[in-house]
């Protein structure tokens, strides 16, 4: 297991490297001139040239990239072009917000998705199955931000059960944190829950037709045991891949849902950065997001190895 982990970690290096190259070259193509952004309209030509020199913008792209990467490896993602905000700090400040939103959404999605998927697979063609299937199909068609609006209208504005907007850090008050994160997480998690439910159901249906399930039943193991132990363990193998993907989707979805709930997470930061063409901020954000995604993938890979003996190195 340790070797697998090490190998996976090693494999991440080229991926992160590639992402950094992609991000850097992409942002380098942005049409705005950072010096203009920083100095606004007020700077003189001399000031422009000085700043350009100081920022090393006259260096070749490769040199700039190497410098940026060197700093990034040390945790320094540079300073925003738009104000003197430290990118690492800004991103790290927002990360817990988006992370807790995504994590709660993922928990909701996984719990409801697996429960619905298993229930549907247990009683195919029953009302449970139909309800779950219809729900899942619907869930995948509902835009998360629209669902968020509706949730706010019902549960915050009318019923006052939850705050309509904003985010309370968990360190401040776990209860308020839960209240503030519930509606956005539900809005965010819906489509992933649906996707997971569908995948679980289809994986379960597939697995339930396997020989070893028949064999286990022929052995007189109870239907419950066969489904929950034998079928689910194997059905989770393809589901894991979907989970990993869905967490990336959730992270992306959080960007939009944050707007609905006026939550200042990475999404708000990202959209602002993009609008302002704040290159260091965009680069830092992308890198950090990919880092998060990659860690999730690593975790799911390990989970995959645990569930699927064939994937383990012998």
């Amino acid at each position: 297991m340790f070797r697998l982990l090490l190998r996976r970690l090693l494999a991440l290096v080229p991926l992160l490297f590639l992402v950094s190259v992609l991000t850097f070259s992409f942002t380098a193509m942005l049409p705005s001139d950072p010096v203009d952004l920083i100095l606004g309209d007020t700077g003189t030509t001399e000031q422009h040239d000085m700043l350009r020199e100081r920022m090393g913008l006259n260096d070749p792209v490769v040199v700039r990239y190497a410098r940026w990467l060197g700093n990034a490896v040390q945790g320094d993602l540079g300073t925003s072009f738009f104000n003197s905000v430290d990118v690492t700090r800004a991103v790290m400040q927002r990360m817990p917000v988006t992370l807790s939103l995504t994590a709660v959404a993922a928990l909701i999605a996984i719990a409801t998705g697996i429960a619905a998927g298993v229930a549907a697979a247990l009683y195919p063609r029953s009302w449970i199955d139909r309800l779950a299937t219809i729900g899942a199909t619907f869930g995948q068609a509902v835009p998360n931000f629209w669902f968020g609006l509706i949730l706010v209208a019902i549960f915050a504005v009318n019923l006052h059960w939850f705050p309509a907007t904003g985010f309370t850090p968990i360190s401040q008050s776990p209860w308020d944190w839960l209240r503030s994160v519930t509606l956005p997480a539900v809005a965010l998690g819906l489509s992933s829950s649906a996707a997971i439910a569908r995948q679980v159901r289809s994986a379960m249906v597939g697995v339930l037709q396997m020989d070893y399930i028949r064999a286990a039943r022929a052995q007189g193991l109870s239907a419950r045991r066969v489904i929950l132990r034998h079928a689910l363990t194997n059905a989770m193998v393809p589901v894991i891949a979907v989970l990993s993907f869905q967490i990336t989707v959730l992270l992306g979805g959080a960007l939009i849902v944050e707007q609905v709930f006026a939550i200042n997470g990475l999404g708000t930061l990202a959209i602002t950065a993009v609008r302002q063409q704040d290159i260091p901020m965009i680069q830092g954000l992308v890198l950090v997001m990919v880092g998060m995604v990659v860690l999730v993938q690593l975790a799911t890979d390990i989970l995959y190895g645990l569930l699927n003996p064939k994937a383990r190195p012998s």
Binding site: G40, D41, T42, F82, N83, S84, V85, R89, A90, Q93, R94, V152, A156, V157, H160, P163, A164, T165, G166, F167, Q259, F261, A262, N264, T268, L269, T272, R275, Q276
Partner: protein, 503 residues
């Protein structure tokens, strides 16, 4: 040409007594929401909205009273003599970093502001020098009737000299105000936390343990925050959310003095990007195309009023201009046809979310007469800055009707005006009027020139005024009942001094 404010110290003291009363340890908190994101906390690089983020930390040399007249703050008096302005400074004031507030500090501030050149208020200033420790002489480039008014705003905000060397001054403000910025507890892009300044020069005015300014650009989110008690007060434009506040029994909509005059600026006056703009008939057609009454009803929710000039009321207002451009799409089309644009033309207009519906309405009016206006979103907080560039042939802004009319000339009309980015030269008539308006500091003497200028502006139609709205604060009932909440005259901020938490 000499004017001294007498008894101003007394007045200030009286205000302090009335508000604060007994000296007690500050308690409680007050949470305010701004509608624009914080761009910079450096007052001298600041333009446009976001002043509420600065006010807790920075105090200006002067303050405006409830009639809009300057009263002492960090400066206790002034004299204006020709091209020199002499300021007398308050003693015993220190910056929160411990530096003394003195003439050297004021000189450093004013000279830095002149050098940076962002602030319109200082455009007329040549330099400042210290006469003695409490006296500063400002040398003017040209006569400026509104220099004291300007020093009551961002131009007069005093930064601790040592802090000026900080490259991150935009995030580390150091002033003399009743509060200091608490960077640790603030969350970038979400909330700014201010805690009492331990070295404040008038500790009896500090009745609040914590002041927060929340960045909530989304109107609905801000309304929800107000409803759920997440904030005590916030700024609103006339929009559906403001109307909701007005209708809600739990909330109050405060209409502050002064107002915001919404207008369209034709920046590309020579028609270098959009040739049609060079034709006065085209611009007048645009003015005719707008149904201001409907605009006020539907877009401003009846909270504003139609206007055709920069000052709807008061000494600078020209009464002949009411209904200068009645809603007349037929006439607009005729004018366009005369100008050779019967088939219309197309131009880009920058937009921020709060102006979205206004611009959509305008686009609809213009579309009616054949003009296509593309709405291009820019980041909130950057509209003013982008409006000063040649990025857009036209823009739209609000004009604070508290300002001195000289700004019309300096900002909008002169070839070097900040909001004349294409540097179109004013017509001879206009240039003459601009000059004439600056000749005096006496309102009665100046007003005929500005009334005439208003008519000239309306005629040339580079500036198309649409509607005027009061500055709106949405507050909770508790805030409305709080006697210490004092809205600054004609501004979108609350006075920090003496502010106590809601009961």
């Amino acid at each position: 040409m000499k004017k001294t404010i007498a008894g101003s110290v007394l007045l200030a003291l009286a205000m302090g007594l009335a508000a604060g009363g007994a000296m007690a340890e500050p308690t409680g908190q007050f949470r305010f929401a701004d509608q624009v994101r914080l761009v910079t906390m450096d007052p001298q690089r600041h333009s446009g909205g976001g002043i509420p983020y600065l006010r807790p930390v920075y105090e200006s040399l002067f303050e405006l009273d409830d009639e809009g007249l300057p009263v002492p703050m960090l400066a206790t008096g002034y004299t204006v003599e020709g091209d020199t302005v002499t300021l007398t400074l308050r003693e015993g004031v220190t910056f929160s970093n411990g530096e003394p507030f003195n003439a050297a500090a004021v000189v450093a501030n004013i000279n830095r502001g002149v050098e940076i050149g962002v602030l319109e208020g200082l455009l007329s200033v040549a330099s400042a020098e210290a006469i003695d420790d409490t006296t500063v002489r400002i040398t003017m480039r040209e006569a400026d009737p509104s220099i004291i008014m300007a020093l009551a705003g961002t131009a007069g905000m005093m930064i601790a000299p040592a802090a000026m060397d900080d490259p991150a001054l935009d995030r580390n403000p150091v002033g003399t105000g009743p509060f200091v910025y608490n960077a640790e507890e603030s969350r970038e892009g979400e909330v700014r936390v201010y805690t009492p300044n331990p070295t404040y020069w008038e500790p009896e005015e500090q009745d609040l343990a914590r002041f927060e300014v929340w960045e909530i650009p989304d109107d609905t989110a801000r309304l929800n925050a107000l409803r759920t008690g997440q904030i005590d007060a916030g700024i609103w434009l006339s929009n559906p959310q403001a109307a909701m506040i007005d209708r809600s029994p739990d909330l109050q909509l405060i209409r502050n003095s002064g107002g915001l005059n919404y207008h369209v600026i034709i920046s590309d006056r020579a028609g270098s990007v959009v040739p049609a703009f060079a034709d006065r008939r085209v611009r007048q057609a645009m003015a005719y195309a707008i149904n201001r009454e409907a605009f006020n009803q539907a877009i401003l929710f009846g909270l504003g009023e139609a206007t055709w000039q920069a000052y709807p009321t008061g000494p600078w207002s020209n009464p002949d201009l009411s209904e200068r451009y009645p809603y007349d799409p037929e006439r607009a089309r005729e004018l366009l046809a005369e100008a050779g644009y019967a088939d219309g033309f197309t131009f880009d207009m920058p937009s921020i979310p709060i102006y979205q519906s206004r611009l959509e309405a305008l686009a609809g009016f213009f579309a009616d007469v054949g003009i296509t206006m593309n709405i291009v979103p820019v980041e909130p907080g950057t509209l003013a800055r982008r409006s000063r560039t040649t990025d857009f042939p036209a823009t739209n802004l609000v004009w604070n009707t508290v300002g001195d009319p000289k700004y019309l000339g300096l900002r909008y009309l002169n070839a070097d005006g900040a909001y004349n980015p294409f540097q179109g030269a004013p017509s001879e008539d206009m240039a003459a009027l601009v000059a004439q308006g600056l000749q005096s500091v006496d309102t009665a003497e100046r007003s005929p020139a500005y009334r005439q200028m208003a008519a000239q502006i309306a005629d040339e139609a580079f500036l198309i005024f649409v509607a005027n709205t009061p500055i709106l604060f949405g507050v909770s009932n508790a805030t409305a009942e709080n006697p210490t909440v004092h809205y600054r005259y004609g501004q979108d901020t609350i006075d920090m001094r003496g502010l106590a938490p809601n009961q």
